[in-house]
């Protein structure tokens, strides 16, 4: 186990290092941040001065060296625009994103598990067909469109839910969360549904396929012959065996939800870190973009690691080595 952990740690560092190189290279081709932060009336001398102040006049590999050096000290740089540490800016907005993702994940699981299992067990029932049709829509509709549609139906036409923003928050362990207040909870519903839709639809399809596959196997027939109840058959025998690939995909999905809640956050004016990324790209605020991508990469690696651990819990036959 220890050996495995060490191996994963080394892997993680290699991945993060590679990401940092790629991100840094790509960043240097995406527009000049200096022109974004000097006033439009700046003279050539002022522009040169700003460039030197940001260290952007040095060769790229020197800039990267400085970046790595700071990174090792836990310093991800200071935002050109906000003049505050990039890490602080991201961490400040992280609770809002995590909260949104948490509810989306909860919602996708709550809907996808029963629907997927049912559709897998009774593939020909009308309900299953409806679920499958619906899931196809869920996968193919773009989230910005769904979001706007939900806003116009539930907020503008029906007046049931607020259109945007995070609403009132209440602190938990000193961190403000919206779901703790009724007003805040009402604000979460629409963005969480929008964000969940794609994942939910995909999970349904995956669970259904897995269940159908497992149901054809011999041990299910034995169980049935043995007289195991339907409920137990599905939820403990079939589902457990169908779950390993589902967990993999689900883990990846959580990662992407955190990383790419961007669109949903922008539509619903949700003050999360995804919106920060969009704004930073628009202003070529390199330190924030780099810090964001590094953090997201770290999250992906971490989630993958957790997924691997979860495997062993679901299926003791899997050996971590």
């Amino acid at each position: 186990m220890l050996k495995y952990l060490l191996k994963r740690l080394v892997q993680m560092i290699v991945v993060l290092f590679t990401v940092s190189v790629i991100v840094f290279l790509v960043m240097s081709f995406t527009g000049d941040p200096v022109l974004m932060i000097v006033p439009p009336t700046a003279t050539d001398a002022q522009i040169a001065e700003a460039r030197t102040a940001l260290g952007l006049d040095r060769p790229l590999w020197v800039q990267y060296g400085v970046f790595l050096q700071n990174l090792i000290r836990g310093d991800l740089g200071v935002s050109y625009i906000f003049k505050r540490p990039a890490l602080t800016l991201i961490v400040e907005r992280m609770p809002a994103t995590l909260e949104l993702v948490f509810f989306s994940v909860l919602l996708s699981l709550a809907v996808a598990l029963p629907c997927g299992v049912y559709a897998g067990a009774r593939p020909n029932s009308p309900f299953s067909r409806a679920v499958m049709g619906g899931s196809l829509l869920g996968i193919s509709l773009p989230s910005f469109w769904v979001g706007i549609l939900l806003i116009f139906y539930f907020a503008v036409e029906k007046g049931l839910l607020p259109s945007s923003g995070r609403g009132a928050t209440a602190p938990l362990f000193g961190i403000p969360f919206a779901f703790l207040t009724w007003d805040g909870f009402r604000h979460i519903v629409l963005p969480a549904v929008t964000l969940a839709l794609g994942t939910l639809a995909m999970l349904i399809r995956l669970i259904r396929a897995q269940i159908m596959e497992v149901m054809r196997q011999d041990f299910i027939r034995f169980a049935r012959a043995k007289g195991v109840s339907w409920r137990s058959l599905f939820f403990s025998h079939a589902l457990k065996n169908a779950l390993v690939p589902v967990v993999t995909v689900f883990g990846m999905q959580i990662g992407s939800l955190i990383a790419f809640a961007t669109v949903t956050e922008t539509i619903f004016a949700w003050p999360g870190m995804g919106k920060l990324l969009v704004d930073s790209i628009n202003t070529a605020d390199r330190p924030v973009i780099v810090a964001y991508l590094m953090i997201v990469a770290a999250m992906f690696v971490l989630i993958n690691f957790i997924v691997d651990i979860v495997y062993t819990l679901i299926d003791p036959r899997i050996d971590l080595r």
Partner: protein, 512 residues
């Protein structure tokens, strides 16, 4: 149980917040983006400037038309040397933390802005002398007719408070003398302020202001439709009719300060953006005239901007120095354009790159495409190069890449400011011509700009600038296209007049 009680308390608080406060007027303003700073000396950007107008005052504050009016300065005189301005300050004004406003704060503010992104507004100032707590002398390097406009851009900071807190902490807990007092800023979610009952100009009618940054335009419209916000800025053109047709809502517009125009490579013998020729056709006045004649501005405004723009031949809005009352309206005459091209020796036209941004200004990419097709029809064959906004300004920096550039400029003061940045001959004066993307080089024009910058008399400056504006438009150094339109959506109950600077100022507004 304890947690339950806490939850209950929170719920009660929410209900209390949701309940309408008795007769206390409040307003929720939907902005297109969050403020970058609460400290107005850190950035020259629309929303940050708006925050500066809420919480702070300048020695002068701009009125709705952008004309500076006395604020913290009660009166001023200018010395015989045309350099020394003496301001007497209002007495009895206090900052929100209770400390007195004095001349020290003025000197401090100028010093802070000298090294910040607002340094262009302090460039003309040589030094500030504190005579006594309520008298301050500002000595300019040269006679400066735009000093009052520049001073209006500097929001007065509390010296003692800001030095005690430091820059970063001050930005989180800002204090000024303005009509509203900072309450809370939750980034990307909301900014709230309350009325400054001690405001020297009288206490505001609207007591509570909440700003909500909603960057997605459709969502912003939705928030107004649901009533969550009372007024929004930057209504997307496609939503104008919907808002107009909704009962209880209305749309207000006004010409924006932002001009969309073309830079023309007008003086260099060779143009880097000219394709397949070793000379620069645009250096010929007839060709530049043809360029303007080949553009159908009205059709661009009508077809692409849905009528939400104003075709023009001016550099600045009416009222600004350099607006020319009798400037002829832009003409569209493709036949005449072809004739002029033939006369200049290009009967079959020539090829040139047009560099334009895509996503920087409303519909900019489509406008550039329309321009390309109109110009090509007249014989100026355009190869369009559209750039994303983060790389555009880098690409079109004066140099060896472009000869024809479509871009925008928002001029808050007058033609002189614009001319010295965009059209002054490059390399003659290090402080001028920094963004002269068309490499316009006209000694007569430079002389006028210098003359305007050498007088302390705004009236004289106006006359000179009108001459300069007429000269460069006639010379085809700039091809003005249109002024954008600022669009606001609001509830009928909100009394609101749009301002030149685009700020939605609750102090000037009311809720019925």
């Amino acid at each position: 149980m304890k947690r339950f009680a806490a939850l209950f308390a929170v719920l009660a608080l929410c209900l209390a917040l949701a309940a309408p406060a008795a007769a206390e007027k409040s307003i929720v303003i939907g902005l297109a983006s969050d403020a970058l700073f609460m400290d107005p000396s850190q950035q020259d950007e629309t929303i940050t400037n708006t925050m500066g107008r809420y919480m702070y005052d300048g020695l002068l504050n701009n009125d709705a038309l952008g004309v500076p009016r006395a604020a913290l300065a009660e009166s001023w005189t200018i010395g015989d040397d045309n350099l020394t301005w003496t301001f007497s300050l209002k007495k009895g004004v206090t900052f929100h933390d209770g400390s007195d406003f004095t001349a020290e704060d003025v000197a401090y503010t100028v010093e802070v802005c000298r090294t910040s992104l607002l340094k262009n507004f302090t460039a003309s100032i040589d030094r500030v002398e504190v005579v006594d707590p309520y008298t301050v002398k500002i000595i300019t390097k040269a006679p400066t007719a735009v000093l009052l406009e520049s001073l209006a851009a500097l929001r007065i900071l509390p010296k003692a408070y800001r030095t005690k807190l430091g820059e970063t902490a001050f930005n989180q807990a800002p204090v000024g003398t303005g009509p509203y007092v900072f309450v809370e800023w939750v980034k990307e979610d909301h900014i709230s302020m309350k009325a400054n009952e001690q405001y020297w100009g009288g206490s505001p009618k609207i007591k509570k202001v909440t700003f909500r940054p909603i960057s997605n335009a459709a969502t912003r419209t939705a928030a107004l439709l649901t009533g969550e916000v009372d007024i929004i800025e930057d209504v997307p053109v496609r939503d104008v009719d919907k808002l107009k047709n909704t009962e209880g809502l209305s749309v207000v517009d006004r010409p924006s300060e932002r001009l969309i125009y073309l830079h023309v490579d007008s003086h260099r013998p060779q143009g880097p953006g000219i394709i397949g020729l070793d000379k620069n056709p645009l250096a010929d006045l007839r060709v530049r005239k043809a360029l303007s004649l080949a553009i159908n501005r009205d059709s661009i405004v009508k077809m692409i901007m849905n009528g939400n723009a104003y075709a023009t031949n001016q550099m600045v809005l009416k009222g600004r120095r350099g607006y020319v009352e009798d400037m002829p309206a832009p003409k569209y005459d493709p036949e005449e354009a072809k004739k002029l091209l033939a006369e200049a020796g290009y009967p079959d036209g020539f090829k040139v790159y047009l560099d334009a941004p895509n996503g920087r200004y409303p519909n900019d990419g489509q406008v550039a495409q329309a321009l390309a097709s109109q110009l090509t029809k007249a014989g100026i064959q355009i190869e369009l190069r559209l750039h994303p906004k983060t790389t555009f300004f880098d690409f079109v920096r004066p140099g060896d890449k472009s000869s024809l550039v479509m871009t925008g400029w928002s001029e808050p003061i007058d033609v002189g400011e614009m001319a010295s940045v965009l059209f002054y001959t490059r390399g003659k004066n290090p402080a001028k011509g920094g963004s002269n993307r068309g490499h316009y080089a006209n000694p007569g024009f430079d002389a006028l700009v210098d003359e305007a910058d050498g007088t302390a008399d705004p009236g004289k400056r106006r006359v000179i600038l009108e001459k300069a504006a007429r000269m460069i438009v006639d010379d085809g150094g700039i091809v003005p296209l249109y002024f954008q339109q600022d669009l606001y959506g609001k509830k009928d109950a909100v009394v609101f007049e749009p301002r030149a600077d685009k700020s939605i100022l609750a102090y000037d507004m009311d809720v019925k």
